[in-house]
Amino acid sequence: MTQRCRYSHVPRVVRQPTDTTIMHSLQVQGVTKQYDKVLAVNNVSFEAQPGRILGLLGPNGAGKTTTIRMITYITIPDEGRILFGNERVGPKSQEIMGYLPEERGLYKKMKVGEQLMYFAELKGMPKKEARKAIAYWLERMGALEWVSKETNELSKGMQQKIQFVATILHDPKLLILDEPFGGLDPINADLLQSVILELKNSGRTIVFASHRMEQVEQLCDDICLVSKGEIVVNGPLNEVKKRYGKNTVLIDFEGSDAFLDPLEASGAVRVNARSTRHAEIRLLNGTPSKHVLKAALEHVSDITRFELVEPPMREIFVTAVTEQQGEQAAKAVQSGGGLAGSKAQGGAA
């Protein structure tokens, strides 16, 4: 997909890297929100910087959605404050903000063009400008021919793209994307990713919420992990990883993987992932990596790779949540492949 428009009737929206005066950072300062008896968010502070992507992570029910709703001024914090560009968020900041919620939705009976126009108008965009932007982005997303179709005639993936266009149409300075790649095929996911990175490079502030750790690792510059309404890990991704140290062994081998069982039983390591020829092993209690190598050499016929690495994002996530909430929650996270809902978290740490 080329960035330049091939069709002359589609005007190109000039969106060069913006000057610093409109580059804003998002500051969440000591924010608390309580619903009835549930403390959804407890004294949370973090910052998202322009030209960077902040990954907002956490198990279901951790308070991510509540936090996002306060940033988007859908709800208001009980305590603390949220600033965007040194001003409290409010109706004004809503106009320079684009929000793609996890649960997508469009008006089923409205035509794509009319719908996008309505969303743009609600963001305070003049009609003429909106019309140009709609044409530009639909063209870019390969959806121009759908402009006068009703939404319910569109495929799910197409609807996702239309919703994404609605989010970025008004050229927001702050983007909040909750699982933006859900339901997209790899080609469209790549297309979306290239647009997101482009927006980042032009100085937009981006908050990216996801449960897909490999995407987080690929896209995010900073991460903020919340659990039970509190921040458990916060900082630039590479620093966070360093903090956890090189404590994970990746091993590729030929032969039986039976050597893993006594290792794990002794409590020296925890096996995070294993398959016929590969294992990801977390070293516990200062176990040296050569301990694993020795055990492996005795049992397998060949070792094709042995590497000591920083833990992957998934491992950091599990460790951090476990430390805060106890084993049970983490087990549910690991075995289910998904993430534990807050109700399943019986024993708190």
């Binding site: 619903y35 009835d36 709703r69 988007t72 001024y73 859908i74 709800t75 208001i76 009980d78 109706p91 809503q94 106009e95 903000m97 929000y99 919620p101 649960e103 997508r104 939705g105 469009l106 008006y107 089923k108 009976k109 409205m110 309505y118 969303f119 108008e121 609600l122 963001k123 919703q163 609605a166 989010t167």
Partner: protein, 430 residues
């Protein structure tokens, strides 16, 4: 542009452009008129029951020859057969019934007795039959006393009653029936429209919530603006329809004379076939109602306020639920006043100045329907109109406050259907 206006404009255009809107606007009145016409025709034909044949056992020997139905629906047949045979004939369906006229009937002794499979009841057939017998017997009684033809004519001359409505502007001839009909139709229209537009608003709120569009919208506008935009946009659509229909009522009222005279047979009113429309209407005692423009103004005002009040509350309820069915139980307390005002519609029409009518037209939740009926029928004192409008407007403002607080929590709450108590709790959230 104000965001409430953008939302309202979108809601208005989205709906006005649909076929449903054009269809209901144009065909609504036709359907309504057809509905009333069908009820009228069905009830009239049910009462008349077509033609019937009655066998006479005339013991006086004089009545049978003179008995005649002026409308020709009933045929009288004399018979010498014994009662037992006639009884069987009636049971077999050969005759509709048989009538026994005892010998002393003309002298005021005994009573005529009618036997049929249907028995008595309060049908207009029994009423007609009694009138026919009474008329014939009375004529015979007068003939027996040698009453002169002149006296006879005097007695038979019709007596009519003319009703005159008194108002501050003086007196006004005409039938209050016409005013009652106009008032009734207006009250009924407000009833229907409050329910229909109210549920359109509720449906819209539920759909937006279920589509999950609402989360995107409230990241651009305040929930209050969305709520008001929705209510006002759909209200504007309703206003267009109601204004159109109010115009039709006005036109229909002016043309009512021509319509009535179409249905009246001059022969029945002892008028020549060449009678003019005015003559016919005078004979029926019908006067084209002279409705002032204020009647239509109040019709539109009360429709608007009633709609605003109830649709705002419906929107609040819609935001709390995920399906239309779940809304039913929550709607009941709000529906009660509307139902009460339609139940008492007849009472208000019969006595528009009674304490009940005045009370109903002042109480904010019930006032729109009874007040419009009263305004159409009588001169409602200014203080009553003022107080009623003040209370209704105040209640609307209160409803906006309550509903918007429920709404902003409700639209983002999914899962279990909340109880009324939980909804009340939402109002206290910051």
């Amino acid at each position: 542009m104000n965001k409430t206006v953008i939302v309202a404009k979108n809601e208005f255009l989205k709906r006005v452009k649909t076929r449903w809107f054009v269809f209901t606007t144009l065909l609504g009145p036709i359907v309504l008129v057809a509905f009333f016409a069908v009820i009228g025709i069905v009830s009239v034909s049910a009462i008349e029951g077509g033609e019937s044949t009655i066998v006479l056992l005339d013991e006086t020997g004089r009545i049978a020859a003179n008995l005649k139905d002026p409308e020709g629906d009933i045929t009288f047949v004399e018979s010498d057969a014994d009662e037992q045979t006639l009884r069987q004939d009636v049971l077999d369906g050969t005759y509709t019934g048989y009538l026994v006229l005892p010998a002393g009937l003309i002298d005021g002794q005994g009573q005529a007795r009618y036997y049929s499979t249907e028995g008595g009841g309060v049908s207009s057939f029994n009423f007609d039959l009694r009138n026919i017998i009474r008329g014939t017997v009375r004529t015979l009684r007068l003939q027996d006393q040698n009453v002169s033809a002149e006296v006879f004519d005097i007695i038979n001359a019709g007596v009519s009653l003319e009703t005159v409505k008194l108002s501050d502007e003086g007196e006004e001839q005409g039938s209050s029936a016409a005013y009652a009909i106009v008032g009734g139709i207006m009250g009924f229209l407000i009833y229907i429209s409050m329910l229909v537009y109210g549920s359109v608003v509720m449906q819209g709120v539920i759909q937006e919530k279920m589509n999950r569009v609402v989360e995107v919208i409230v990241s651009s506008v305040r929930p209050f603006q969305l709520l008001m935009g929705k209510v006002l946009g759909i209200g504007a659509m309703g206003l267009v329809q109601m204004t159109f229909w109010a115009g039709l009522i006005a036109a229909g009222t002016m043309g009512s004379g021509a319509i009535i005279s179409l249905f009246v047979d001059p022969a029945n009113m002892d008028l020549p076939d060449t009678a003019t429309q005015t003559e016919i209407l005078d004979a029926v005692g019908f006067q084209v109602p002279d409705l002032g423009p204020e009647v239509f103004v109040f019709f539109v005002i009360y429709f608007l306020l009633g709609y605003l009040l109830f649709s705002t509350l419906f929107a609040g309820i819609g935001s709390a639920v995920e399906q239309q069915q779940d809304a039913q139980s929550l709607m009941l307390p709000i529906m009660m006043p509307i139902i009460i005002s339609i139940v008492f519609l007849q009472a208000v029409i019969e006595a528009p100045n009674s304490g009940l009518s005045v009370a109903l037209s002042l109480i904010p939740f019930t006032s729109p329907i009874p007040m419009v009926v009263r305004v159409a029928m009588i001169d409602v004192p200014i203080w009553q109109l003022g107080l009623s409008l003040l209370l209704l407007t105040g209640t609307f403002v209160g409803a906006v406050w309550v509903s918007s607080r429920i709404y902003r929590v409700g639209i983002l709450s999914y899962g279990k259907k909340p109880s009324l108590k939980e909804i009340m709790k939402w109002m206290r959230y910051a």
